[in-house]
């Protein structure tokens, strides 16, 4: 069992600790009637290979994306999804998953677009649960359908589109690029003929600070770092100010949802938005400014 070197979540100095729960908390509350545990992974084989007993799966591609357009599900599809999962507006939804919760934070972010704020991330994600030797099952749970009202998706509060990002750049706004340093610089790090991140141009959005998403995580335990260490990275080292809006981006918006979660919930930045168009849009757009060192 991997022990945590950090104090309890409530004692780590986070601005909104209620958005993070421990594996102990999940073990204790996973069967509560008003709690729903959801696993979101990049790897589609993980959930069926074993998951937390009682956990349902939310598949990013199948459940959260529009099947035709590059966009997220619409209000009726979201309603159908949460009702299938037995979720009501009062259900506390706990997300966890692979990749140190990349996809869990992505799913939480999409739920937030529909106003479901009663949600949290399981600190350490799937790998922490597994490493702690906690029970896993292949049994797929079932739920009686719930009732959830139709909610219009809000694309302004937590999400930002390309033209707004362009205005943000022109206004010298704060951006954080959470991709790898090699992606940030536009350096090609692949064998001949290997595709370059799905974009025609490499580099980064002008003015962006490079803070790879994984810096917010303890690589040994997968847990989020305490607030003082996060502040040291984002505020002291990179100079990001909570007094002005920050836009986070990566390649398609999944890694940046992780940093969105860190800045908004753990550090309490009031204005953080995720640019899900990210580099696959920006690096393919005609005429937008690009910076390369």
């Amino acid at each position: 069992m991997t022990s945590s070197p950090y104090p309890a979540i409530a004692e780590r100095g986070y601005a909104h600790p209620e958005f993070l729960v421990s594996t102990d908390w999940v073990a204790e509350h996973k069967d509560d009637a008003n709690v729903r545990i959801l696993e979101s992974n990049e790897d589609p084989l993980l959930y069926p290979s074993g998951h937390i007993p009682g956990a349902f799966e939310v598949d990013w591609t199948r459940d959260l994306n529009d099947p035709i357009r590059r966009d997220y599900l619409d209000r009726s599809a979201f309603q159908a999804l949460v009702e299938r999962l037995g979720i009501t507006p009062n259900t506390r939804v706990i997300f966890y998953g692979d990749k140190n919760n990349w996809w869990a934070t992505y799913s939480l972010w999409v739920f937030r677009l529909f106003g479901h704020t009663n949600a949290a991330i399981m600190d350490g994600g799937r790998i922490k649960w597994v490493n702690e030797g906690r029970p896993m099952t292949k049994e797929i749970p079932s739920s009686a359908p719930s009732s959830y009202p139709v909610v219009e998706r809000d694309d302004q509060t937590e999400r930002v589109m390309r033209d707004e990002v362009l205005n943000h750049v022109r206004a010298n706004g704060q951006l954080v690029d959470v991709r790898s340093p090699q992606e940030f610089t536009g350096e090609r790090m692949h064998m001949p003929d290997y595709p370059n991140e799905g974009a025609l141009r490499g580099g980064h959005i002008p003015g962006a600070k490079s803070v790879p998403w994984a810096r917010a995580i303890d690589p040994e335990t997968g847990e989020f770092l305490p607030a003082d260490r996060l502040k040291a990275i984002y505020q002291e080292e990179q100079g990001l100010s909570p007094d002005r809006e920050v836009i986070a981006y990566c390649r398609i918006g999944e890694r940046s949802s992780h940093t969105w979660f860190v800045l908004k919930h753990l550090l309490g930045f009031p204005q953080v938005r995720n640019y899900d168009g990210s580099w696959t849009e920006w690096g393919n757009s005609v005429g937008v400014p690009i910076e390369r060192p």
């Binding site: 992974n41 990049e42 790897d43 589609p44 084989l45 993980l46 069926p48 290979s49 598949d59 990013w60 591609t61 199948r62 692979d98 990749k99 799937r126 790998i127 597994v130 790090m189 692949h190 064998m191 003929d193 290997y194 595709p195 991140e197 799905g198 390649r251 398609i252 999944e254 696959t280």
Partner: protein, 146 residues
Amino acid sequence: MPYPARLQEFVDNLALFADQAERVQVLISFAEKFQPVSAEVATKPYLESHRVPGCESEAFVWVTPSEGGGVSLHFDVLNPQGISAMAMAVILKENLDGLSPTEIGTVTEDLVYDVFGRTLSMGKNMGLMGMVRMTKYLAAHANDTP
């Protein structure tokens, strides 16, 4: 273009699983058979030149010459959550081991779609296609003089 015979037979058999859940369990069973590269071929820390670019599961590939002009494939997947990468490694090894670099060179990246379907994330697609590309690339150079 059809794949080499053994791989084509595998793809055809997999296609018989119309139920996605059954297909997924078949792929998981392949992942459970995964064996990392032997110490005779490579030991950690592995050379970066064998790392599959863009693969978040941290897959590595080696291709060594074998008898009769064929090659042997070897893999490791450092991320214990990289089940799809492990399944792909087993599928490539079981169905391509012993073939010539020319035969392996005919395998297209469409293999990822034929095995996993078309609903993978962009990153997962890139990683798994990278395994196919890396295997072909190293196979083509397996008999180069060091």
